[in-house]
Amino acid sequence: MAPPAQSQRSQSPSQPSGKSEVSDLKLQLRQLAGSRAPGVDDSKRELFKKVISYMTIGIDVSSLFGEMVMCSATSDIVLKKMCYLYVGNYAKVNPDLALLTINFLQRDCHDQDPMIRGLALRSLCSLRVANLVEYLVGPLGSGLKDSNSYVRMVAVIGVLKLYHISASTCVDADFPSTLKHLMLNDSDTQVVANCLSALQEIWSAEASTSEEASREREALISKLVIYYLLNRIKEFSEWAQCLVLELVTKYVPSESSEIFDIMNLLEDRLQHANGAVVLATVKVFLQLTLSMTDVHQQVYERIKAPLLTLVSSGSPEQSYAVLSHLHLLVMRAPYVFSSDYKHFYCQYNEPSYVKRLKLEMLTAVANESNTYEIVTELCEYAANVDIPIARESIRAVGKIALQQYDVNAIVDRLLQFLEMEKDYVTAEALVLVKDLLRKYPQWSHDCIAVVGNISSKNVQEPKAKAALIWMLGEYSQDMQDAPYILESLVENWDEEHSAEVRLHLLTAVMKCFFKRPPETQSALGAALAAGVADFHQDVHDRALFYYRILRYNVSVAERVVNPPKQAVSVFADTQSSEIKDRIFDEFNSLSVLYQKPSYMFTDKEHRGPLEFADEIGNLSIGEATDNVVSSQRVEENDKDLLLTTAEKEETRAGHSQQASFGIDDLLGLGMPAVPNVPSPPQLKLNTKAALDPSTFQQKWRQLPIALSQELLLSPQAVAALTAPQALLRHMQSHSIHCIASGGQSPNFKFFFFAQKYEESSNYLVECIINTSSGKAQVKIKAEDQSTSQAFSTLFESALSKFGTP
């Protein structure tokens, strides 16, 4: 229950202070306990209600435990429910007293009324007291066989609760296999769904220690089970449908006809009233067609309308969640949505987090045909009451300008902003005009004319001021009074608080000096003097540097400070494409809402069901080596993109209980449960080998190279190697595991390891593949040198099979 500190908070004068009321209740309950007078149930009910309400507002009523249990011998179901609620809340802190309740709960498990049987069983399993698990097994066993589906449904979840209290008791009683049987045979779909959710959780947790469990977990995503569930999908409740659909996303169909069958079967789910079902379906469609570019495009077209409707139909909360997903899709494929730009127009009433998403989408979908309308719309937001949104809108106009070829109309709009005489509008517009000029220097003439009219006194924001100063310096030959404006700025040096502005001022004065020396000379002297005396280190250093280089040689100084510039073609993107891809893989999860992959915000121990081993393959070649060498650092730095295998191992071993129903199998994603290892008889590899990166790195350094060779890849293998992931999966099925990989076509680099069967002897491999030449450079290190040749043969044969169907 709530800690005492909380209970004090909720004590208003009118509410009971606790102690005396509780002892009062105790007395009354005791009087009623043995009574069989008529109407006693009603008075009990009143008392129970009071107890529960105290409990709810945070008063500790655990001292009433004994009395509550005594009073619970009743046939009144509401009394029973209240009692179950109470017991469930306090049993964990009072394990000794909880024993008292076992008796009556067990009796209720045999009640005639299925509702009572179910409720009693649910409460029994919710006690969560470790030393009482022995009493759970019997009722659960009979609950699973109960003739009423309600009781079976409760019992299935009960098994999962038991598993979390005591995994061994649950496994020893053979409950998982009973659940499996129920899942495949029960007539009630809610029972089936509960079995699925329980089994996913249990087997994921067990998989780290038991090979059988991980096989069973694999079997959940086998064709048999998936088809069985899909064929009944319409019978499931909407929530259970979400569960099934989530499972289907992990299924890897063996041929494309299967993909179409599944999509045909699920198409009407896109029209479901429940947004969660629609989104889960969308995820299935997107995942299934990832490798089929054409169909993937069609899927975007197909899912567009349902998603847009979801946005406009639900409550604001639902709209936001859908919109975040839509945002992700728009960012991936803006052209698909370019004709739907009006859906991203902001409404006055929308909260600003929604507007912000919409502005980003409007920026993304802008193309030749709709730019005019989008920019017109965005310009209206510039006069918005919500100032942050007004600023964002101006920035959006600027971004559109930067990504378009025909910026004619947009430049006019931006210049209009400058004339709006609204300080934040002017500030934002100045920054944009600066960026625009860096990309399109040809516009300088029009822009400079307008910028020249802006009084520097009206510009206060550092970023805007810096932009203005940059333009003054860069275009000083075109602006009549540039030297004098700069001079007046230099005069107010001490009042300028931003170091960034002072730095820009120094550079601008220098540039101006090269172009118009006589007019600027005095300003330059003043600026350098002020700069050298500046307390800010960077300003001081830059001033000193300019001073010295000017003394050395003025023409050299000009070459350094004001070299001819190339127009910027593309401005750097803030979020890397790898991160975006990763968020896409985690579609329909919180990651999308936070716009970060889950490893960036979820604790390791709570990482959800959406981890894929092949995602480590997102680093570039150069980093691959670096990664192995410094994996220690990487592990500490969770912000890094790279998720090392070790972290995942930890996740599974240590905290898989919480990791819900993750089928995050590292070792055989979508692979047959028992890989047929085509190894020569003399060397067998451990299919479930594990090695953490730091050990790998240590061993790699210690061991000498046993073998180094160059292998030729078959044309099929080259064709199949479009991404590192493909090879990873293939090698995994041959019990050779990847610890790090990276690169882009045509160069890939992999680090593999393998373990000898029933021995902890490791083989480490570095493999560099160039797909254009079709060659693979392989370096093998082995702890057991005598078998390195055998391993090499095995590796070679595994590699040669890659790409062959």
Partner: protein, 415 residues
């Protein structure tokens, strides 16, 4: 999966706590949450999904009650949000509205409902029909019944029959003396009219609501005269997909009582039923406002409850606004609302007056957006028309009723 659900009052007090899994969530999370909400200024302004230092929180606010759910694992966000929305729908349905008192008075029922709706953090059933059979609502009828029969339990003795049937939304075998079914088209028009008076966006979001009181297992078909105008549709689970796919016919076995059969969207409409023409001109620290409202297209139906609302920009010191029709109110938060009602035959409603700007301002730079409200009975502005409603094996007496209604959704006119 969800680990805990809290219900908070509008002052942030925990009214109810339902732990769902073995990982007990401490109540202190609510304090963190409430501080966060206060720092955002308003619970409606803070995002529905928030990351706290220890948990991820889903929040849905309805009638001042915050439904808060906590989780520590990745999960589909819509599942959390949708579920909370359903919880609030079911509760408000059961308790006849939502407010602090009604929840405190009926917290036992709320606990009972949550118990059946979610187990171990995974949603089970949120179908009101099924829940109603398991837990009787605390209405007057059941109170009277309990007094008369002496059976004070508000739980039915039998388990719902529908849990086992393949029509989970329908209660087993209801019987009515009068068989009635009503179909309502309810549409909302969203429109944006920009500064130049151009209609930039106009679409209708509509719902087909059915209220059915039919005995036995009725099989209904509903068809439209012009289904091709629909841009996207979503269905209640009872609708069969194939007949729609092939012939655009809605074929379904309805739940008992009122439900939303279908929702749809019609894009790219060309006109709005009324026009609003705002004119603002500022000069020497004052701004003249003049707004005209009138009927654009005559649908032959009267337009009711016309309202106009706008937020005065913060830089305005005082406002003096009058109208020739209806009443004008300026609320404390500088919201100006003009309720017109029906448009009179003899004159065009107009609102005019002056706004006084802050002393150093010459002209107005921030322009208000006018939000328009209206209601039209008897017409669906999208143009959607119901063709016919048939019942397989019609009972002897069957009453069918159809209605239509359009109101303004997000209808904005910028100035």
């Amino acid at each position: 999966m969800l680990q805990c659900i809290f219900l908070l009052s509008d002052s942030g007090e925990v009214m109810l706590e339902k732990q769902l899994t073995g990982h007990r969530v401490d109540r202190s999370i609510c304090d963190w949450f409430w501080d966060h909400v206060i720092s955002q200024g308003d619970s409606l302004k803070s995002q529905p999904v928030i990351a706290s230092p220890t948990h991820y929180l889903f929040q849905v606010v309805r009638e001042g009650i915050t439904f808060l759910a906590c989780t520590q694992v990745e999960m589909p966000p819509l599942m959390g949000i949708e579920f909370l929305c359903r919880v609030s729908d079911v509760l408000s349905d059961y308790l006849g509205g939502l407010n602090e008192d009604v929840i405190k008075d009926n917290f036992v029922i709320v606990y009972e409902l949550l118990d059946e709706m979610i187990d171990n953090g995974f949603p089970l059933t949120t179908e009101p029909n099924i829940l109603r059979e398991m837990i009787a609502p605390p209405n007057i009828v059941s109170k009277v019944l309990s007094v008369v029969t002496g059976n004070s339990s508000n739980v039915s003795d039998t388990l719902p029959g529908a849990t086992g049937s393949c029509i989970p939304w329908r209660a087993a075998d209801p019987k009515y003396a009068n068989n009635e079914v009503y179909v309502d088209l309810v549409e909302e028009m969203d429109a944006v009219i920009n500064r130049d008076g151009v209609l930039v966006k106009c679409e209708v979001y509509g719902e087909v609501r059915v209220n059915s009181h039919l005995s036995g297992l009725p099989d209904l078909t509903l068809s439209f005269a012009n289904p091709s105008i629909l841009d996207d549709v979503r269905f209640h689970p009872c609708v069969r997909f194939r007949p729609w796919e092939s012939h655009q016919i809605l074929s379904f076995v309805p739940p008992d009582g009122e439900f939303k059969l279908m929702s749809y969207r019609v894009k790219k409409l060309k006109s709005t039923p009324i026009y609003v023409k705002p004119q603002l001109s500022s000069d020497a620290g004052k701004c003249r406002v003049n707004v005209l409202v009138g009927i654009r297209n005559d649908h032959g139906k009267t337009i009711d409850s016309i309202t106009l609302q706008f937020q005065l920009p913060p830089c305005i010191l005082s406002a003096d606004l009058t109208s020739n029709t209806g009443t004008v109110n300026i609320l404390g938060n500088k919201t100006c609302s003009w309720s017109i009602g029906r448009i009179p035959k003899d004159k065009t409603p107009s609102l005019s007056g002056t706004l006084v700007l802050e002393s150093e301002l010459e002209r107005l730079h921030v322009f208000p957006t006018f939000r328009v409200g209206f209601k039209i009975m008897g017409v669906a502005l999208s143009g959607l028309q119901i063709d016919k409603l048939d019942l397989k094996t019609a009972p002897s007496r069957l009453y069918k009723g159809f209605r239509a209604l359009t109101r303004a959704g997000e209808f904005e006119v910028r100035s």
